[in-house]
């Protein structure tokens, strides 16, 4: 196959010789295939939508934009739908999916627990509280997104400092602190829901279910570079992440300072999660499921799990979001779809492959 030969050439250039490193070559090959899948899903997703536009017109519009050509040959309506609605939404879904998935992989490694998800330290409840404040008291808390982000970060900082005793942050205390902070913010969200009027309540509930309804280029510009930077840093720390997942004492004997490195990776993973959540609401399951799926495919080595996770998360959210906006006349909140599709998949993983992912 032509594609296979090309990928093999690229892998050669990366310095992996053919006669050895066989399994690592295979892993890189799989990552390239995942990249292809994401692109394919994006290409198909772009042509689908409530408003019917012919396939060639979609690509023509896209081509003109990407080559900086003259856009006036496309009708304004079509241009808006394709370039200002569908395309940013697609990029946003890819960014958020990737962000949540790598954050999940990082948290699972650092906490040495395969059942941890990115919301474990209270990011989601903090963000929910901030968003609910923004919805309810719009005159004071002027931006839902900014306050969701502020409170998401605040929740994690709070949990982290709660768990820090004498310069150490034991994992069990950290998880417990996350649960505590999460439940406090959940209670506060419940209180805000209780005092909210009907339309505000409806808005809060919708926000909590997550969605890309209002995706715009502004969101993309805010989120995507952050996620890419976070991804690159975390990827570069992937080997250290492997060492951290062996435990604190092991990490120290191998020359990786657990306190310093844990703080760095948790901070980055939290930042990308908080950014995503504050823009699109709470989307469950991606961060829990994708790390498992990539470990199943590629083994636990984070040097491969992180990029695979990013691509799988991106693919999954892209598919879910396309379904969310196309299967019925009105949009379904994406959180519902990710959970409905995700739960049976994880169930399958646990029943059939539990041993190979959980050891």
């Amino acid at each position: 196959m032509l594609a296979e030969r090309h990928i093999n050439k690229i892998i050669d250039k990366l310095g992996y010789e053919r006669h050895d490193d066989f399994s690592e070559r295979r892993k890189i090959f799989i990552i390239f295939i995942l990249l292809g899948l994401v692109i394919l899903a994006g290409v198909i997703s772009l042509t689908l939508g409530a408003y019917n536009i012919s396939v060639d017109l979609v690509y023509k519009t896209l081509f003109i934009h990407l080559t900086m050509g003259d856009i006036s040959s496309i009708s304004k309506l079509h241009n808006t739908i394709i370039w200002d609605i569908r395309f940013p939404r697609l990029i946003l879904a890819i960014s958020v999916g990737g962000a949540l998935a790598i954050a999940g992989a990082v948290f699972q490694s650092v906490f040495r627990n395969p059942l941890v998800e990115p919301y474990i330290l209270g990011v989601s409840s903090g963000a929910a509280f901030g968003a609910a404040l923004g919805i309810l008291f719009h005159s004071i808390f002027f931006s839902i997104q900014i306050f969701a982000f502020i409170f998401a970060t605040l929740a994690v900082v709070f949990a982290y400092s709660l768990a820090r005793v004498r310069g150490q942050t034991p994992i069990v205390t950290l998880i417990l602190a996350g649960v505590i902070v999460g439940s406090i913010f959940s209670a506060l969200v419940s209180f805000l829901k209780y005092i909210a009027n009907d339309s505000a309540l409806r808005e809060i509930v919708f926000w909590l279910m997550g969605g890309f309804y209002y995706a715009s280029w502004n969101d993309v510009i805010m989120l995507t570079p952050m996620v890419l930077i976070g991804f690159i840093i975390l990827w570069s720390l992937a080997w250290k992440l492997n060492i951290l997942s062996m435990g604190d004492e092991e990490a120290r004997t191998l020359g990786v300072s657990p306190e310093k490195n844990k703080a760095i990776v948790i901070a980055i993973a939290t930042a990308v999660t908080a950014f995503s959540v504050s823009l699109v609401g709470i989307i469950a399951w991606v961060g829990l499921m994708m790390p498992h799926a990539s470990r199943l495919l590629l083994g636990p080595d984070n040097r491969f799990v992180i990029p695979a996770c990013f691509l799988m998360g991106a693919f999954y959210l892209l598919v879910c979001d396309t379904l969310a906006r196309t299967i019925t006349m009105t949009e379904i909140p994406i959180g519902i779809i990710t959970s409905l599709l995700g739960a049976p998949y994880l169930c399958y993983l646990l029943r059939n492959k539990g041993k190979s992912i959980l050891g």
Binding site: S245, E250, R252, T253, G255, P300, S356, L358, G359
Partner: protein
């Protein structure tokens, strides 16, 4: 190579080690010997700065460990812990490769050379057949061999081994002791704790016996593993015999049987 002076450590109120002083010279295979709960592992953990010491000083290569960063320390000393099981199914060769971490620089710094060193370490221990098996699904003894290979791959002048043979069969125990003798022959230094007085007496260059928070004996193995010290730490349960010059520690009952024979 390793100098410890007046080391004391306590867990809140309970003293574990008090005023422990000894030193290990370069190229020595030093055995750390003592009953359960006498503080052998604690001593290792103090030296590796996992635990904050109450007083005293620990010097490796004539540098105080408290002034060393985690990265520097990992280039000086490798540690084989007693038992641990990571939650993720890393392959054995990946675990051994982790031993190269202190020497890895830069972004994606794992080089072919590091992989080769890891491979050689596994080859040296004859465990290449489990290289592609998930580490956390191996038996306790196999895991111990993998950790030993990791310590060799880490390539440090000093090695701390916490009961490296506790889960091994007889053949592998001898393999590990033989390997330790090879390692010190290269000029490296080993501090290994063991529960088998015979192993310590047969293979070590020096023995340190700790009990009751302190050192009760120190010196050449055939002088240190004697009736008096064993009676003190094991409460009259064993006797030291000599079989044409080779010391042999046996349970008292068995030794009696020999005399009656």
């Amino acid at each position: 190579m390793l100098h410890i002076s007046d080391l004391s450590f306590r867990y809140t109120q309970k003293p574990i080690l008090s005023d422990v002083s000894f030193s290990v010279e370069p190229g020595q295979l030093c055995g750390l010997f003592g009953p359960n709960g006498s503080g052998k592992t604690t001593l290792f953990k103090c030296c590796l700065r996992f635990l904050p010491i109450e007083q005293g000083s620990i010097r490796m290569n004539s540098v105080d460990v408290s002034s060393r960063s985690v990265e520097e320390l990992a280039k000086t000393v490798a540690y084989v812990p007693q038992e641990h099981k990571p939650p993720f199914p890393y392959l054995s060769r990946e675990v051994v490769l982790m031993g190269r971490t202190p020497h890895i620089k830069g972004f994606f710094g794992i080089k072919r050379q590091d992989k080769q060193i890891a491979r050689d370490a596994m080859d040296q221990l004859n465990i290449l057949d489990i290289a592609d098996e998930p580490y956390n699904q191996l038996s306790g003894g196999q895991r111990q061999m993998v950790l030993m290979a990791r310590a060799i791959a880490q390539d440090t002048p000093l090695l701390f081994l916490d009961e490296p043979t506790s889960a091994l069969d007889f053949q592998n125990q001898m393999k590990i002791w033989g390997l330790m003798e090879d390692i010190v022959a290269e000029g490296k230094t080993i501090l290994a704790c063991s529960h088998d007085p015979n192993h310590v007496a047969w293979f070590c260059d020096k023995v340190i016996v700790i009990s009751n928070h302190g050192i009760v004996g120190e010196g050449m193995p055939d002088e240190t593993i004697n009736q008096d010290i064993l009676d003190r730490i094991y409460h009259n349960t064993c006797s030291v015999c000599s079989n044409s010059g080779v010391p042999m520690v046996m349970p008292k009952k068995v030794a009696l049987r020999m005399e009656n024979y």
